[in-house]
């Protein structure tokens, strides 16, 4: 099957590195296309969330240079980031994709966003045609596995999301959230979720600023909050006790001087910045100011590690489901792998049978329809009897590691050509026949 995957995630690389590989949604389709243009890559898709960037591909012989693609696409020297990448092949890819989609590899195990993010990435890749056959089955299966994990274990049901961790921290700063106001900068799904959490715990008012004003208005209406024109961000931000920022800005939008300004206007009342954007929206310098607390996505991870431990048992059950599914998928794919061989074997024998019957027909003379049927049944029967064991063996061999050897052997024994090559020669010969 020749699956390959390379990527960075919140465990393998710090925010600074992930920032450099983050891919805006608008560039995703282009990136998928460019990936499939890479030598040796037959199918490919790219997943880019704030916690991970992964390049997944099915390749001709499992040795495509995905690292090179990353270097080329992001215009950086891959050697520089070498130590942050993880790479998987074959069934490890299957396991990884299943785990990611089921949210077992998430920063907050069981958080629900990742499934949607994988689905979006898949939809983009499908739309540009960079995913069509085996990767398609892999992803489709992954969604089914995610569903199984969610329904059969408690991993997702009581998932502490980043949002609830943020609420906990806010409570440790403000005591109670009653009467506190929340400022959403950037109107992403994630910040919407976090805002919902904060409101549920008593936060009073909400401001929304977004580069696209309409989106801000829309979101503000949802929470009966107030939409703010993005240009007025710095003039209005000091009104908020909690700032949730998740813009796609390439540089920090809150710097030290902004923090100082807010503090002066607020008479040093504390402020809590929750930065779930990658690249980060808040300069780490801001955290050094007295009275401002900045937590970025990596910090939130540290804060939730305790909860992850609580959920260890459920996670183990989920891992078992994934392991089981990996095996099943493997078996199915490999059985699929021998199907073309079996089909061409059968075709091959059928051609021989037809040819032989045509050859002796002259000597047999005129046959009654009954006799005609009998000859057919006889020859077919012989072939089926002989082929029964080889085909069964092929199917079962497919599930084992020797699959390719057995397939090769059968192809050589019967001189079977590649399906594609065969088609080509067939069309060539038929074209010749017409002339």
């Amino acid at each position: 099957m020749n699956f390959q995957l390379i990527g960075v995630n919140h465990k393998s690389a710090p925010v600074e590195v992930r920032e450099r590989l983050a891919l805006a949604d608008s560039r995703l389709a282009d990136a998928c296309k460019r990936l499939t243009e890479q030598p040796g890559v037959e199918e490919g898709m790219i997943l880019s969330t704030c916690n991970r960037v992964e390049v997944l591909a099915r390749t001709v012989n499992g040795t495509a240079d995905l690292r090179g693609f990353i270097g080329q696409f992001f215009k950086l020297d891959p050697a520089e980031l070498d130590s942050y990448f993880y790479e998987y092949r074959e069934q490890d890819v299957v396991r990884h994709v299943f785990r990611v989609t089921s949210s077992l590899d998430s920063m907050v195990v069981g958080e629900p966003q990742i499934l949607g993010q994988v689905k979006e990435a898949y939809a983009v890749a499908r739309a540009v045609g960079s995913v069509h056959s085996q990767l398609d089955s892999l992803l489709t299966r992954a969604f089914a596995v995610a569903k199984r994990v969610r329904t059969e274990t408690a991993v997702g049901s009581s998932a502490v999301s980043v949002a609830s961790v943020a609420v906990e921290l806010a409570k440790k700063i403000f005591g109670s959230l009653h009467g506190k106001s929340v400022y959403l900068v950037g109107a992403g799904k994630m910040s919407e979720l976090a805002a919902r959490h904060l409101l549920a715990h008593g936060a009073a008012s909400i401001f929304v600023a977004n580069r696209t004003y309409d989106r801000a208005v829309e979101l503000a209406r949802k929470f009966s909050g107030k939409a703010i024109v993005f240009e007025q961000l710095y003039e209005t931000c000091d009104r908020a006790d909690i700032v949730l920022t998740s813009t796609g800005a390439p540089h920090a939008i809150f710097r030290r001087e902004h923090g100082e300004l807010f503090l002066a206007r607020r008479r040093n009342r504390p402020m809590f910045f929750i930065d779930i954007a990658v690249p980060r929206d808040v300069d780490p310098e801001v955290n050094k100011l007295d009275g401002i607390f900045v937590y970025d996505i990596d910090d939130l991870q540290q804060a939730v590690s305790g909860h992850v431990a609580d959920r260890k048992k459920e996670a183990e059950r989920a891992e078992a489901i994934v392991a089981n599914e990996v095996e099943r998928f493997q078996a199915r794919l490999q059985t699929l792998g021998v199907v073309p061989t079996i089909v061409s074997l059968q075709d091959h024998l059928e051609t021989i049978r037809q040819a032989e019957i045509d050859r002796v027909r002259g000597r047999l003379g005129e046959l009654s329809p009954d006799q005609e049927l009998a000859v057919d049944a006889l020859t077919k029967g012989i072939i089926n009897k002989i082929m029964h064991t080889p085909i069964t063996t092929l199917k079962s061999a497919a599930r084992e590691s020797e699959a390719t050897t057995v397939i090769d052997l059968v192809r050589r024994l019967f001189n079977l050509q590649d399906k594609k090559a065969e088609d080509k020669s067939n069309s060539a010969s038929s074209a010749g026949a017409k002339n």
């Binding site: 409570k171 700063i173 403000f174 005591g175 109670s176 040093n268 504390p270 607390f293 804060a303 590690s305």
Partner: protein
């Protein structure tokens, strides 16, 4: 007898001290459960000790060095209990309990008090002076404790490591509120107490020597107190800057207290 009760109280305060020493480093359920009751019992015994002293003494007065230390410890504990009843947190005890223990320890182990008797001073004024100033002191100490805890909690939140300290201390704004409210509460007491002191001094000496170390230090402490309130109210100073001021005020208070030993007018030892 009063001394015996005070020593019993000291024993209970020692448990509180232990609680304070351990609370920041590890979590001990046992100590958590006995820490507060022990301090309450200590308070009760100290109250008994003080009352008994007042009733038994021929010249019932609070103006002996040791009784006043005992009284200050009691006042601090009373304020601590008020905070506990409002906020349900024993965290200020981390700073407060050692102070209380120290005061009770000095009161219980020192020599028997020598009384300072100033004939002609109106008893009620003297009593008012002491009670008011001590309430002010107690509030100041509590505020000092709160600002130290604020620093600890702030650092814990900034370091982003979810260690035990964070979960054991109250929320940052709660600590801040405790500190600020103590300050607000203490200031009028301190001011009135100093005014009462002036009245006493004038009644005793007719004229107050402003260059007396005790008076200078008291005024200095009062000024710092005022600055703390002002910066907090006007600029919202809290955290590190507020802690510096609180520490300064605390030191000034301790020195002003110590000045009793070398002040010309505020002596306990009659010469």
């Amino acid at each position: 007898m009063p001394l015996l009760w005070l020593r019993v109280a000291l024993g209970f305060y020692a448990v509180g001290l232990l609680y304070a020493l351990l609370a920041l480093t590890r979590r001990s359920e046992l100590l958590n459960r006995i820490g507060l009751p022990a301090m309450v019992l200590g308070m009760v015994f100290q109250f008994v000790s003080l009352t008994e002293f007042l009733l038994l003494s021929d010249h019932p007065t609070l103006t002996s060095v040791h009784n006043s230390e005992s009284l200050l410890a009691l006042m601090i504990m009373v304020l601590f209990m008020i905070v506990y009843l409002i906020y349900r947190t024993t965290s200020p005890g981390i700073v407060i309990f050692p102070i209380v223990f120290l005061l009770a320890f000095v009161a219980a182990t020192g020599e028997q008090p020598s009384l300072f008797v100033t004939p002609g001073v109106k008893k009620s004024w003297l009593f008012a002076h002491i009670a008011l100033v001590f309430t002010g002191y107690a509030a100041l100490f509590l505020s000092f404790g709160a600002s130290l805890l604020y620093l600890v909690q702030e650092r814990s939140l900034k370091s982003k490591k979810s260690n035990g300290i964070r979960s054991r201390l109250p929320a940052l704004e709660t600590i801040d509120e405790i500190g600020y409210r103590s300050l607000l509460l203490g200031f009028p007491f301190m001011t009135l107490g100093l005014i009462a002191g002036t009245v006493v001094a004038q009644a005793t000496y007719g004229r107050v020597n402003l260059l007396d170390p005790k008076i200078l230090l008291s005024v200095l402490m009062w000024a710092v107190y005022l600055i703390m309130l002002y910066t907090r109210w006007n600029a919202g100073w809290r955290g590190r800057r507020a802690a510096y001021l609180a520490t300064f005020a605390f030191v000034a208070a301790v020195v002003a207290w110590a000045a009793n030993y070398f002040s010309g007018i505020h002596r306990f030892v009659s010469s």
